[in-house]
């Protein structure tokens, strides 16, 4: 049982690619070996900045011999067909076997594929893996044509068994596999040979290379926390940074350094971001005050002065970086304290999108919508506008120009410096949220209002200019914006009719897009906008205003476009809602059943209804009621189609003949009343449960009652009764959408 060791030694592999590359190497090689008929008992893959390594243990020494029987042409078939078969099967004429089959005599070939030595297979599989390696970005170098992430210098490929260790001969674009590798670039220059994995790993360690990235990361973290602890400090945890730093060194040496006193009053986020982004330093803070006071850097070597020169150099670079940051911070604070107007004015020079205008125009629109939304989320109208107007002011600040990832957070600091209330300042930071799955949606009413306004403005804007996401293309992150709206509503339990805001903001965009034309009609258009806020939808608002006067060209155009665009956008929200609720375990068809009713623009309500329906469907009553409903619906639809009438009214209990029929009448009366009360109270689960109570009377009815009797009066009455089942259920959800 030989053991295989592979090492691909190259110039520095980007840290962010190493883990995936080690995984890919393992997969490509083991898949290839297995496909060729070999088996193995275990495997491990590793990466350092300069190498990928793979150990495969307990490999079979050769692949098994495989016999395959192949059916050929009929005896007496044209010569060409027989020749072709012989070529394909790789046998000669005299090796063919004639066999009788129900279709006559047919040639058969027995093909025997001899087993192959592991050496041969490994060489092939390795070459395939190297040539087809899925690097995110690869390159050529020198005069060769091989692609690798950076120049590939040497390959170790050895098999070791009881007889000893041997090189697997292979040559990939001039790089011959061997048994030589090298250690740390600076601490242990020179090449050495290896015979197996254990020896490889231990020789590397002697040559100042820790092969296992996890071991490097553990070492860094241990040493960093120990050094910090010894000074009464703690390291700010950052797993991503730890993995990255472990990918930048083969021999990690942890060094803790000082941050100049003059920088310690910078906001902690600024210190942390500057140190991390530029220098890949960990932040070290006081365990008590949580103030960041030092940094940890990880060098790739030991030195005779115990890292003193390295640390001094790093400290100097950091000081230069932080002087910049301090300079930005102080300049920004000056602007902030003078009221931030210099920044908001500057935003007029920054294009948001060439069709959707500049940032200042965008902020105006968001501010107007934030006013509209405020009362519905319990926020103060004036504060909502004020917050919206400064929420993005920090985009003009020097700090955010330098560190875009600090947008919002700096806004909060600057708004506070400008003397704004804590609530308004918080909006600057919170209105971007929620950004990712791990980000929480804001809770404060003011932040919710501006966050909703911001996202709805973006969505309606791109819908107005017809730049919707298609397939995998979503350059403006519109799916995320819609999901953000849904989460804001869900996580704050906010029930509101979204359409009124979509309509209003669409109008604002379309007014801007129609430019001068809209100017002439601006009074009318503004009046419609006001009406939307009151009436709730564009159509009603439009008629309220234009029944009394002639519509101008722009207004007429809006009448044609707004409802369609708005409906399309609402559909987009519904799609996002389905994806979102799917994660909560609610089926698409259950959501569909709840989308067909009224108020389907109230996403929180739809979600609640879907959740309730989902729960009821999990009960026997619920599931069986759906069957009963479908049966009623089918019979009714068929009868309606056949008779050409709609059975929609007037089932009377006096025509009921059986006890089951009468019981159904009673049950429907009860359910109808209960559902009505429950719905008016927004108690969806209660409504659904009331609906599910219909299950036994409906079942009993179908078991005992024949709908299509000869008595036409009774038949009509029964059909009308079925219709009551349909309408009572429909008041809760459209059960016909449900699958199964």
């Amino acid at each position: 049982m030989p053991n295989l060791l592979i090492e691909l030694f190259s110039e520095e592999i980007p840290a962010r690619m190493q883990a995936q590359a080690a995984h890919n190497l393992k997969k490509l090689i083991t898949d290839g070996l297995v496909e060729a008929g070999l088996t193995y008992s275990g495997t491990k893959a590793f990466s350092t900045p300069r190498r990928l390594a793979l150990a495969v243990d307990g490999l079979t020494a050769e692949s098994p011999t495989v016999r395959e029987e192949r059916k050929g042409p009929k005896v007496g078939a044209p010569e060409q067909a027989i020749e072709g078969f012989l070529r394909g099967a790789g046998v000669t004429r005299d090796q063919l076997e004639e066999r009788e089959t129900p279709k006559g005599a047919v040639y058969f070939a027995m093909i025997e594929k001899a087993g192959r030595l592991a050496d041969e297979i490994v060489a092939e599989v390795l070459e395939q893996a190297v040539r087809n390696f899925p690097w995110p970005k690869s390159m050529r170098w020198g005069a060769g044509s091989l692609r690798w992430v950076r120049p590939l210098h040497s390959i170790v490929c050895i098999l070791e068994d009881e007889a000893g260790s041997r090189i697997v001969p292979t040559d990939i674009d001039g790089i011959k596999a061997g048994d030589m590798t090298e250690g740390h670039r600076f601490m242990s220059p020179g090449r050495f040979s290896v015979a197996n994995f254990d020896q490889y790993a231990s020789l590397l360690k002697r040559a100042h290379v820790v092969l296992d990235p996890e071991e490097r990361a553990d070492h860094i973290w241990q040493d960093a926390t120990n050094q910090a602890f010894a000074s009464g400090l703690e390291v700010v945890e950052d797993k991503g940074l730890l993995a990255e730093v472990a990918g930048l060194v083969e021999w990690p040496v942890v060094l803790m350094g000082q941050i100049g006193e003059e920088f310690l009053d910078l906001p902690p986020e600024v210190l942390q971001t500057s140190m991390k982004e530029h220098q890949k330093f960990f932040s070290v803070r006081s365990a008590k005050s949580k103030r960041i006071e030092r940094f940890i850097t990880v060098a790739n070597r030991e030195t005779s002065d115990n890292g003193a020169t390295i640390l001094a150099g790093n400290q100097k670079v950091l000081a230069a970086r932080l002087s910049d940051a301090k300079f930005f911070w102080e300049n920004d604070l000056r602007v902030a304290k003078s009221g931030m107007s210099a920044w908001t004015e500057q935003l007029a020079n920054v294009t948001f999108h060439n069709k959707l205008g500049n940032q200042a125009e965008r902020i105006n629109r968001i501010a107007e919508l934030a006013r509209d939304i405020a009362p519905y989320v319990g926020a103060d109208v004036e504060d909502a506008e004020k917050a919206a107007r400064i929420a993005k002011a920090d985009l003009s600040s020097e700090m955010v120009y330098e560190f875009p990832e600090l947008q919002g957070l700096m806004g909060r600091y600057y708004a506070e410096a400008a003397g704004q209330s804590g609530e308004i300042a918080a909006v600057c930071e919170e209105h971007y949220a929620p950004l990712g799955p791990s980000d929480v949606a804001p809770r404060a009413a003011l932040s919710v209002a501006v966050s909703l306004a911001d996202k709805i403005d973006t969505l309606t804007g791109f819908w107005a200019i017809d730049e919707k996401p298609t397939g995998s293309k979503d350059p403006f992150a519109l799916r995320r914006a819609a999901l953000g709206v849904i989460r804001l509503l869900r996580e704050n339990n906010l029930s509101l009719e979204l359409s009124r805001f979509l309509d209003a903001q669409l109008m604002r965009h379309l007014i801007a897009l129609n430019g001068a034309g809209a100017e002439n009609e601006i009074d009318t258009l503004e009046e419609i906008l006001q009406e939307i806020v009151k009436a709730g939808v564009f159509g009603a608002a439009y008629h309220a205003v234009l029944d009394q006067r002639e519509a101008g060209a722009v207004a007429a155009k809006l009448a044609e476009t707004v409802p369609d665009i708005s409906a399309n956008l609402l559909g987009f929200f519904h799609d996002r809602l389905k994806v979102y609720l799917k994660d909560e375990g609610i089926r698409y068809d259950v959501i569909d059943a709840c989308l067909s009713g009224e108020l389907n623009d109230d996403l929180q309500l739809v979600a609640e209804r879907a959740t309730a329906l989902g729960r009821v469907l999990e009960t026997d009553e619920g599931a069986n009621l759906v069957q009963g409903f479908k049966r009623a619906n089918n019979i009714l639809s068929q009868a309606e189609a056949k008779d050409g009438v709609e059975y929609s009214f007037g089932a009377e209990i006096k025509f009921a003949e059986t006890a089951e029929e009468k019981a159904l009448f009673a049950a429907l009366d009860t359910a109808e009343a209960d559902i009505k009360v429950a719905l008016s109270e927004g108690a969806y689960e209660t409504a659904m449960t009331a609906m599910a109570q219909l299950r036994s009377p409906v079942d009993a009815f179908f078991e005992t009652v024949q709908i299509n009797t000869d008595n036409q009066v009774v038949r009509r009455n029964r059909l009308n009764l079925l219709n009551r089942i349909r309408t009572v259920c429909a008041s809760v959800a459209d059960l016909s959408c449900l699958e199964g």
């Binding site: 390159m139 020198g142 992430v149 120049p151 002065d305 670079v317 950091l318």
Partner: protein, 309 residues
């Protein structure tokens, strides 16, 4: 101790040591290109010579101008005019990393005391239609060079691939010499009878150019010059290859490329004057790139570009 005696003492000594080092390694030591460029890469010895199949090895200092980086000589690190040291070798030799590290030792960086790292940094020049993969090289956390394997230039795949090294000379020298402010750095030997600092040589010009770049340069003239350079570049390349006077095939790739360089620098000046909006920016960059591609197309039709008649 070695570090003490072997330390260079001035900015120019660092340049001289790099020149000797790379000359000893077989590079042709060229002189700066006599035009305003934003970086050493723009020198035709890099852009054009990285195209085609002919082997090439050159090293040179290139004065570079980035108008928007002007700080009136006050910022310790930022300059609108600075020097890059550029090495370009085609095909990239297998020991290019080792050669590069040798150059750091040559200028007095003791490998035994410092932490040198190759940190992923891919290079792309939208104006040149060029990109490559490589690293920024860190010395104790400071970026001291850019190291790139060219993959494409002027829209052409590089085959063979050139290895390009770019040293930001002021920053590197400040580090080696232990200077905090660029203007305080000794330009020549501080023991010389007339010792000159970097500030003695450049403080005034930084002020003058900062003012001109930001506030005085006439934007209409610049814009006109941009358009002239663009038109001339295209015109040069539209002229047929056959020269009626000499009867020879003479494609004027270099004169055309000069115009491309001009257009690129004029764009940088316009940018510093703040008259180019975000959307226009992309369009201007695209126009320069078009020129760079035309020049690259022309160069590969010349003998130096590997054309065989």
């Amino acid at each position: 101790m070695a570090e003490q005696t072997d330390k260079p003492r001035s900015f120019q000594e660092i340049i001289l040591r790099l020149q000797s080092y790379w000359a000893a390694k077989g590079c042709a030591v060229l002189q700066p290109y006599d035009m305003e460029v934003g970086a050493g890469t723009f020198h035709p010895a890099t852009t054009l010579r990285s195209l085609g199949t002919k082997p090439w090895a050159a090293a040179y200092v290139q004065p570079s101008r980035r108008p928007t980086d002007g700080r009136y000589g006050e910022n310790p690190n930022r300059l609108q005019h600075y020097y890059q040291y550029q090495v370009v070798i085609k095909p990239s030799p297998p020991d290019l990393q080792a050669l590069y590290l040798g150059s750091l030792e040559a200028i007095g960086i003791d490998m035994g005391r410092h932490d040198i790292r190759f940190v992923e940094d891919d290079w792309e020049s939208p104006t040149l239609g060029a990109w490559g993969l490589g690293w920024e090289v860190w010395c104790d956390g400071m970026e001291v060079s850019q190291f790139t394997y060219f993959q494409q230039v002027g829209g052409h795949d590089c085959h063979p691939v050139s290895g390009e090294l770019t040293y930001g000379l002021e920053r590197l020298a400040m580090y080696v010499l232990g200077v905090e402010h660029v203007m305080d750095m000794p330009y020549n030997d501080p023991q010389a009878p007339i010792a000159l600092s970097y500030g003695d040589v450049f403080r005034q010009t930084e002020q003058e150019y900062s003012r001109w770049n930001f506030d005085v340069a006439d934007t209409e003239t610049l814009l006109r010059h941009f358009e002239d350079a663009e038109a001339e570049c295209q015109r040069i390349l539209e002229v047929g290859a056959d020269d009626p006077k000499t009867g020879k095939r003479i494609i004027m790739a270099h004169p055309a490329y000069d115009q491309c360089i001009k257009a690129s620098h004029l764009f940088n000046l316009l940018d510093a004057r703040g008259v180019i909006s975000v959307t226009e920016r992309q369009a201007y960059i695209g126009r320069v790139r078009t020129l760079a591609k035309l020049c690259a197309d022309a160069f590969v039709q010349t003998e130096a570009g590997g054309y065989v008649s």
